[in-house]
Amino acid sequence: MALTPNIERLRGSKNMFETFPLWPVQASTIAGQLDLLYVFLLLLSLVTCTAIFTTITVFAIKYRRRHGREAEQIHGSIILEIAWSVIPLGIFLVIFAWGAIIYFHERTPPRDSTEIYTVAKQWMWKFQHPEGQREINELHVPVGRDVKLILTSQDVIHSFYVPAFRIKQDVLPGRYVTAWFRATKPGTYHLFCAEYCGTMHSGMLGQIVVMDPSDYQTWLATSRTFGSLAAAGQSQFEQLGCPTCHRFETQGRGPTLNGVYGNPVTLEDGRTVIADENYIRESVLNPGAKIVSGFKNIMPVFQGLVDEEQMNELVAYVKSLSVPPAGSAGNPTLIPPGTQPQHPKE
């Protein structure tokens, strides 16, 4: 059973606003934006409370019961009612907009993010790097790089929460969800599970280790790897017999997978969907749900035959078959289509 891990002390900045005792370290690009909203809301609340409490106190003292003075019966004032409805509403809408903008930012991973597959299970976190490294309860990332997590759960709903980054995303079984961050400060930060998931929910802890780019390269080079994720996926692809129907040079009984990921797909019932991670996942586990136009519903069902980590490998492989957008820095995960599988590095 995992007990409280020995989390090393936070390293880093001496700037008091970054290690202010009222909030966690600001270690991502979002954190500062969020803390600014927090301060605004705190000040707004302080002003509002002071105004209301002072008014009440003044009234309580000034109008306390005294002999010879009677209360004055006042019905109301439409002007006041309108004022104190409209003005708060205006302020609320400002807060709404501010929060919405940050949220949009939080939920829109940048293109070309490094993608890391995350599997949550009772009661641990498993990470699969595109270069092939696997980690349990610990995730190494370089500072300054956009990192997108593709998360799924093996059992119940969990939630991936890194207070220092100010990100949180519920992790659902049967589906991929995404979360992203760009770390701004090297250090080790708490990872919590934030959705109650059973006995050791409070023990499902991890750490995010943010490293300087050079340290990170060192770590990549020296950590044990089984070949890139996409290569592992290609190996799965072959083992499961997929090339029988999904051919590359000729048209097979199944659609060719080159260039599928990220692009629209027309289905036989006329709908068009974008082939994202969830589409690929569903195509493997429940192929009959969406039949590509012009093809028959004859693909076998792989539900129960692949686990989450194997699924991640397959997804990574299929993604690697899409042409990268022009101008991206060489993405180490891509494998040219049709390449023979590499033997795993040992």
Binding site: N286, P287, G288, A289, K296, N297, V301
Partner: protein
């Protein structure tokens, strides 16, 4: 107050906290309407779940609809509509003070109700024989074969959801029907005893409201479960 005065101003059915019979009747009727409103919300949650899944698992739900007996469902619909007719006629009989007619109509209504439940039982038994009852012995491979004929893959787990909702919806409806029969048993008994007069027959009216509601729920269930998308494949 003398007894005779009390009797004049205080009909025996008037409850002590009401000012007069009219207030009592309006209040009781309003109460029943509100209660039926809560029942709409109750069924509504399940209808929402059904409609969402119907959209997601169109094929399995369509085949599920085909596999339940539309003839029995139609007969049941007719049975219920007739029973609502006899209820309405019963209210009229009470308004006219025709005790024997009222009792007869209430009894016929109950017969229709029992018939409905019996037919439903037959339907459920058919489902049981076909292994379409959700749970450990659920098996929809027959539906899978039908699907294959049309070149459609049927996911048995999704079929099970259809049947879960089918049994939950029709089961809850049947339960309400049983409660309705209980209510009508009581009403019939008191009607036979002569308790209901043209001046006082509120229980018949509000019992009738309940029965009509149970009928209306079925009128929604029937098309949603049995009728729509029976022949989705070309």
């Amino acid at each position: 107050m003398s007894d005779s005065l009390i009797a004049l101003e205080h009909p025996t059915e008037l409850q002590h906290h009401f000012a007069d019979m009219e207030q009592q009747k309006n209040t009781s009727t309003f109460g029943m309407w509100l209660f039926l409103g809560t029942e709409i919300m109750f069924f509504g949650g399940m209808f929402a779940a059904y409609l969402i899944y119907r959209r997601w698992y169109y094929n399995e739900f369509a085949l599920g609809s085909r596999s339940i007996n539309i003839w029995l469902g139609t007969i049941n619909t007719m049975v219920l509509i007739c029973s609502s007719l006899t209820v309405a006629l019963g209210v009229r009989a009470a308004q006219m003070g025709k005790r024997k007619l009222l009792v007869t109509l209430l009894l016929i209504t109950m017969v229709f109700g029992v018939a409905f439940l019996g037919i439903k039982g037959v339907e459920w038994y058919q489902k049981y024989e076909e292994h379409h009852v959700p749970g450990s012995s659920f098996n929809a491979s027959d539906l899978v074969s039908v699907g294959q004929k049309y070149g459609i893959h049927i996911n048995q787990a999704h079929s099970q959801i259809y049947f879960s909702l089918y049994f939950a919806l029709t089961g809850l409806h049947a339960l309400h029907m049983v409660v309705g029969l209980g209510i009508f048993t009581v009403l019939t008994y008191f009607a036979w005893k002569g308790k209901y007069t043209p001046e006082y027959h509120t229980p018949i009216e509000i019992g009738g409201l309940y029965w009509h509601f149970v009928d209306i729920v079925w009128i929604y269930l029937f098309p949603l479960l049995y009728l729509i998308d029976r022949k989705p494949f070309h």
